[in-house]
Amino acid sequence: MKIDPDRELVEACQATTPTGLEGSFRTLYDQFKDRVYNVCYRITANPSDALDASQETFGIMFRKIRDFRFESKFSSWVYRIAVNASIDHKRRSSTRALTSLEANTDSTRDEVSKYDVRDERIEMPIAAASRHELEAEIQSAIARLSPKMRAITVLRYVENLSYEEISESLQISLGTVKSRLSRAHEALDRELTPVIDKHYLR
């Protein structure tokens, strides 16, 4: 059995009584915050929903960490919580998602700009605008996938998880990972082709 790289840290958390975000909990949070936020953002396609889902993920993580028995990798467990929290959030805010796709894309783009901390002064304005547009279009193509396909696409291509890790995180078989990812690509073929052609990515 593979050794979990987070085992020591997790055991340290399990040994202490949490009194807040400090000590081992703080280290664990720093280690996972970007990964959790990225998964949540790519699944919810909305920064404020992503923030809520991330908060919920860490809340659950710290409440349940004592019950974690290392039957899977700790990161897989965290990803599972993040995926489920994001899908739940997305479902709850489905009324907001019923707004027009164009408005959604615009608002997503605006909010991405708001939360994106990279300094855009070092990039050429046209290139930055084009990159933003492309990312927003890819994001909306992902958002049009079903929640299950969205989760698998994000874990594979945004978080670079292997098929095995995805299988562990989503608690599905390897065969299901393969076929679901294949179906996701079939769907993305329809959604992404115009975007790819528009931005000369071929």
Partner: protein, 239 residues
């Protein structure tokens, strides 16, 4: 819009996706198939482009607000855990017997009817339940307005009955009258049949009114407006 996925071999799609995703290596068999199959080739190229686009997404750093939110969530969780632990630590104490005595005065026992009620509810729960709740239903007294309404209804009914009786009497009388008429007609018709079977005429030639029977003479005199004159009768007959 490209639909390369529809032309790819269904049994090769998962492998092609795995190759494009970097999860599997191209082997000789796949290479040979790709040379021969244009659909699979196009699908692989499309998936590879998609993978490049998806991997090109910029990783977003967690926003600063998240820290504050997680601290709040953790502290809330911690407070909740402490409250649960505190509640669990409270021991369960038994009630001292003095309290029991203070609450229930000595000598008060359950009334005997309770046994009966409990028995009944055990034997026939549905009936017992219905009785218990039916007994609790409030009994309402009839409103005063009801008397007036019932009086009106009664008065109206009496008038209607009176009218109906009158109509019935009239109908009976009419029926009786018709019956009598029909019977009488029938009787008259029947008697006529017997008497008027063979009418008999007697022709008498008379030459003077004195030859008439006195009864006939008076009848004739009544009919002609005076004493019959034999000459005139003869004269009128000749004319």
């Amino acid at each position: 819009m490209s639909r390369s996925s529809t032309h790819a071999c269904p049994d090769r799609r998962d492998t092609l996706v795995a190759v494009a995703a970097g999860e599997a290596m191209r082997d000789l068999a796949l290479e040979a198939h790709l040379i021969a199959c244009g659909g699979c080739n196009a699908f692989l190229a499309s998936v590879q482009t998609q993978v490049r686009a998806l991997r090109g997404l910029t990783p977003l750093p967690a926003p600063r607000e998240l820290h504050g939110l997680v601290v709040a969530a953790t502290q809330a969780g911690h407070r909740q855990e402490r409250a649960v632990a505190a509640l669990r630590s409270i021991g369960r104490a038994t009630m001292p017997p003095e309290v029991d005595h203070a609450i229930w005065p000595i000598g008060v026992s359950a009334p005997p009817v309770l046994d009966d009620l409990v028995n009944r509810s055990l034997q026939d729960p549905t009936h017992s339940f219905a009785r218990r709740f039916a007994g609790r239903i409030e009994r309402l007294s009839a409103p005063r307005d009801l008397d007036a309404r019932v009086g009106k209804v009664y008065e109206f009914g009496a008038k209607r009955r009176e009218r109906a009786a009158r109509r019935l009497a009239f109908a009976t009388a009419a029926l009786v009258l018709v019956g009598i008429t029909v019977t009488a007609t029938w009787l008259v018709a029947r008697s006529g049949e017997v008497t008027a079977a063979e009418p008999q005429f007697v022709i008498e030639r008379v030459t003077s009114p004195e030859a008439f029977d006195p009864l006939w003479r008076s009848t004739l005199s009544g009919l002609l407006g005076g004493a019959p004159d034999a000459d005139r009768i003869v004269r009128e007959k000749k004319l």
